[in-house]
Symmetry: C2
Subunit: 142 residues, 2 copies
Amino acid sequence: MSNSPEIHDIEEGLALRPKFDASGLVTCVATDAVTGEVLMVAHMNDEALRRTISSGQAWYFSRSRQALWRKGESSGNIQRVVEMRLDCDQDAIWIRVEQTGAACHTGRRSCFYRAVAPAEDGAQLRFVDAERLFDPKAVYGE
Amino acid sequence: MSNSPEIHDIEEGLALRPKFDASGLVTCVATDAVTGEVLMVAHMNDEALRRTISSGQAWYFSRSRQALWRKGESSGNIQRVVEMRLDCDQDAIWIRVEQTGAACHTGRRSCFYRAVAPAEDGAQLRFVDAERLFDPKAVYGE
């Protein structure tokens, strides 16, 4: 709720005041600017956010590698940012991108290539887009 | 990379094996099933995920309140899940929803009502959708 001047400023103001978590990260959702498909969910630290804004290309922070990375620096599959939005409490970012090639490290266009289908024991997955646009072994090595 | 049997199973298998973080949560992105707009980014714990799958309505776990909540339980603005997808490493969920009313607690359709615009000192925000579909004070109280 907008029940303090501080929260009101964050929710209704025009100042970019990203709320980084305890690890210094905000969640970032990248969608295809044309189709609206969610391509990936990743994280940005302050430096990745600054570089994304200044360069117009998506930069992220890898939690597993603890390193800044420019999307596509290994694979060539860069993301050109068409629009960047912040959510109400400024702890999540949405970028609409022009995706070169595939967003997913498995070679698929989107990381969200499986849907959840109800099953007798709860749920299971089914592929909605199994096609690989590149061979991950050829791009990243074994 | 798919360089271990364990990772291969998670990335290429049909078993739902969500990778909850240290707080027991996965990130969930909700998009409008019709327009593709990102409505909100929130979190689910195991119970919220189970209830979402079994009920077909979105349930989340509030980090600030440390409580399970059914989206719309206070506001009436429920989310009917049209499709649920998991990402490659199963630590993020994407749900396409039919959103009743507005997704954002500020009364706006989407939480992402401001875009980032380059400015002299880095960046600032501009409203892209300021319209409130409900009065948050009337719905949630002061």
